[in-house]
Structure formats: structure tokens, C-alpha cells
Symmetry: C2
Subunit: 292 residues, 2 copies
């Protein structure tokens, strides 16, 4: 028993140190770029040797993938905030609606098996900002369901789905503010071609998380006529992700590129918001964005 306690103690310390390293890595990459952030420098800043640092992760690529995961997690929490802040919808209503959606989604999964939805980990009925304890897939699934639940609750005349759109776009464009992250992302995407590299699993996981969040939302928006494009939600999602990734790389050499504006243009292309009752043009979406 003493052994176990010791182990748990050192385990928690390990978790904390890992967390410190990842936060520090994100900070250094944001400040100096990925190419200029040397492993030695990162190690020194957390009082470790290079070997000591890698001890927490494995290989360099393991470390890089964990840095990207840490950033993804931060972006997911931003998505969660969508569901709690500035909303006319009470959290308890969203919660009830979320449970309905879960039951519905389970049925959907039974019907169309083999889709690329994340394997249904049972989401706890109350989400806490629990750091490294929640797995990414659970977070993603929960975020997707809450987002969906919130969309179901919105009256059709509501302006809130415009808000959802503009904040989603802002999250997607977030990396643009941190070129170092885009550099790291590109670097790791090269490694992902090798199936044995941790980058490969990371990219697969990321794709699954993205569809777990976006595909049900796009389906719902199509059903309500807010997105009138007839494309398969999974294709729409792929195209959106591809545009975002591609624009982020373009922006490395072209810092004036306005990714948010181009993503909003793409939204008008897929006929997001062609609802005749509430048909803000791109200008009003932009104004809405700048006010929030």
C-alpha cells in the first residue's frame, strides 16, 4: 500500500511536470517560432537536461505531438465556453437537450455503423475543466453534443447561430496568431506519413475528433436550412478543415492574409445563413464578430 501511495505521488508529480513542460513549450513556440525553439532551451527553462525532458515523453516526435495535443485541448475548451457564455439558453436546458441528443446519436450509430464518428466513450453527465484527466475524444464528443444541443434550442429567428459560426471561425483561425504552431503542425504532418510515427496516430485522432464535433452540427444546420449546401456533412467538414490548414500554411509567408475573412467567405459559399428571415450578408456577420 505504501508502495502504491508513493507511486501515485510520483505519478502526480510526473503529470504536473509534463504539464509544465507542455505549457512552457507552447509559450516558447508562440514567442520564438518552432524552428528557433531548441530542445536544449526548453529543457533549461524547466530545469531539466535534454534527456531528462525526453524521459517524460519518449522521442522528440512524441513530445511534439503532445505539444499539439495540448494546444488542441485549449481550443476545445474554447468550444466549451460557447455553451456557457453569452447565451440566452440556460445550461440546465442544454444539459437536458444534450441527453436527448446522446440517445438520438446512439441510435444513429446503431443505424449507420462504420462512419468516422469517434468511438462512443460514455461522457460523464457533468463536465469539469479537469485538465489532463479527460481524454481528448471524450472532450470532443461532449463538445459536439453540447454544441448540437445548443443549436437545437435556438429559436429559428435567433441570431445565436451566427455567433456560433463566428466564434467557431475564430477558434479555427486561432493558430494563425501563432505561426510557430503552424510550423510545428507542418513539420509533424511530414512525419505522419510514417505509420509507426506517433504523428500518424495523432492525425487520425484529430480527424475523428473534428468529425465528432462538426458533422452532427452541420447535419443539424442543414436540417434547419441554415446551411443549404447539399454536400455530405463529412465532405463539408473535410473541405473546411482543408481550407483552414491550407490558409494557415499560406499565412506563414503572407502575414497579411485574413484567415477569418476568408473562412467567413467560405461560409457564404456553402450558403450558411440563406434563411430568408434572417439573411445577414457577410458584412453583418463581420460586424457581429467585431462587436463580440
Amino acid at each position: 500500500m505504501i508502495g502504491m501511495t508513493k507511486k501515485r505521488g510520483s505519478y502526480s508529480k510526473g503529470v504536473l511536470k509534463r504539464q509544465e513542460i507542455l505549457s512552457q513549450a507552447l509559450k516558447l513556440i508562440a514567442e520564438n517560432g518552432f524552428e528557433s525553439t531548441k530542445l536544449r532551451e526548453l529543457a533549461e527553462s524547466v530545469n531539466l537536461s535534454e534527456a531528462g525532458l525526453l524521459h517524460y515523453f519518449g522521442t522528440k516526435d512524441d513530445l511534439y505531438v503532445e505539444i499539439l495535443r495540448e494546444n488542441d485541448k485549449n481550443e476545445l475548451y474554447e468550444l466549451f465556453r460557447l455553451n456557457t457564455e453569452n447565451s440566452a439558453i440556460r445550461p440546465s436546458d442544454a444539459e437536458t437537450e444534450c441527453k436527448k441528443a446522446e440517445a438520438e446519436a446512439d441510435q444513429d450509430n446503431l443505424q449507420d455503423s462504420g462512419t468516422d464518428s469517434v468511438s462512443a466513450a460514455t461522457a460523464s453527465s457533468e463536465h469539469k475543466h479537469s485538465g489532463s484527466e479527460s481524454s481528448m475524444s471524450e472532450l470532443a464528443e461532449r463538445a459536439g453534443k453540447l454544441l448540437d444541443a445548443r443549436l437545437r434550442l435556438m429559436p429559428s429567428q435567433s441570431r445565436e447561430h451566427v455567433d456560433v459560426l463566428s466564434r467557431l471561425v475564430r477558434i479555427m483561425a486561432h493558430k494563425a496568431q501563432v505561426p510557430g504552431l503552424v510550423e510545428l503542425y507542418s513539420y509533424i504532418s511530414v512525419r505522419a506519413a510514417d505509420k509507426a510515427n506517433p504523428a500518424h496516430a495523432y492525425f487520425l485522432e484529430r480527424r475523428n475528433i473534428s468529425s465528432a464535433i462538426s458533422v452532427p452540427m452541420l447535419k443539424r444546420l442543414q436540417k434547419r436550412g441554415i446551411v443549404s449546401s447539399k454536400l455530405e456533412p463529412s465532405d463539408l467538414n473535410r473541405i473546411f478543415n482543408a481550407v483552414t490548414d491550407g490558409l494557415l500554411v499560406q499565412r506563414l509567408i503572407d502575414p497579411d492574409l485574413d484567415i477569418e475573412r476568408l473562412l467567413l467567405e467560405l461560409c457564404t459559399i456553402i450558403d450558411w445563413e440563406r434563411d430568408p428571415d434572417s439573411n445577414p450578408d457577410i458584412e453583418s456577420i463581420k460586424n457581429h464578430r467585431s462587436q463580440s
Copy 2:
């Protein structure tokens, strides 16, 4: 004079050797991927030492950028073939039309200066497959004008613009068949963030070439109502390029991803081919593609 002749002799030999190295590099990368192609291996295959090989280019990054340029050049020649093969339009007519377009374009340039069109290098009135002698920008400008000229000559009922579309899409998706090139492209995009790196100039050049080819074409297609999306042609072009780049990276981990299909879906999204007289759905575009 003798000195000059000698110099020219060794210059041509140098050009030939460079060309051999680049062709060999593209071959090795296509066969083995970028990560697995070692400089030593490339050097050995052209009977040089590593230092001897780099002598032709400068740094490793200079070599990598030249490999990508070589591939771009091959893709541009594919675009040229659009204008000569399988067309009901006589080359001489396209040539006359091209001159008209050049005069028009010059006027346009005077009117809206400061756009991102390639600086107007005077294109020779007859294009030859002249290898490394033509600069990329000249080739691109010429390709853009010929493509535009050909579009002007097409009767509105013609099916040829569907062919232009499907072949353009095929060229854009070409890299998908060669994951090694995509890996190299991602690798180099990381380096491009550094303005002093040759990758930076390469990406700027590539962006300018892309708009020199696509922007006038998209403008023309909008004027004729073949592309009914109201987006700025330069934004449409950026979005298309971003989708292509993003999908290529996605495909590294997902070899079943059908880039051609998704690009054609994107074409339906931008209302390409909403012309009521000739409104082939995506299926007929696909059939047309598989026949050609």
C-alpha cells in the same frame, strides 16, 4: 572568345547535370517518399559526392526548392497541353485571341495597379518546350493567357469548359499520387517562415504564378456566368489552393481520400456550371473525366 565558348560549354554541361539531378530526385522521392530519400543516395545515383551535388544548388534547402520548382514546371506543361490537344479550337485562332487578351490585360494592369498579377514579362509570341530556359513566371503568364484565350473562343454551349475544369482539377490533384512530393512541400513550408530561406521566395513566386493563371480565368468564367459565385476571383483562387494543399496533407495519413472528387464537389459549391443550358451535375463531370 575561346574562353567564352569554353564557359558556355561548361555552363550547358552544368545545366544538363542539374537537370539530371532534379529528374533523379523527383524519381527517388516518388518511389521512396521524401523522408526516406537520403542526400547520399541521390548523390550516388548521379555519380557525385554529397558536396559535389550541393555545389550545383547551394544549400540543401536550395536543392529542395529546385525539386519543387521542377515539379511545378512539369505541371505547367500539363496546363499548356490543355491548349493544344483535344480541342476544336485551332491553335492559330487561340494565338490571335491570346494577343487580344494580352493587349486587354495590359490595359487592365494599367487600371488596377498593385494587384498580385505577376510582373508582366513579355511573353514570346510562340511557345516552345524549352526546358530550363523559360522562367517560371513567363511560362505561367503564357499559360494563363492561352487558357483565357481558349475560354474566350468556346461557344457558350461548348462542353470544353467542363474539360478545362476536370483537367485543372486533375493537375491540382496530381501530387496526391506522389506522397513524397507532399511531404517535401510540407517540409519546405516550415522553412518558408524564415524570410532569408529560399523557401520563402519560392512560396511567394508560387502564389504569384497561381494567381497569374487562375485569376483571369475565374474572372472570365464569372463574366460568362459559368462560375456564378460572386466571390472575388483572387479569394476564390486562394480558397481553391488552400483546399488543395490541405487535402494533400490530409491524404498523407488517409490514402483513400479522393481529392479529385472533393475538388469537384467544391466546384459545385462555387456554382461552377450553373448555366441552365448546360448544367451537368457532378456525376456527368465525373463521367466526362473518366472518359478523357
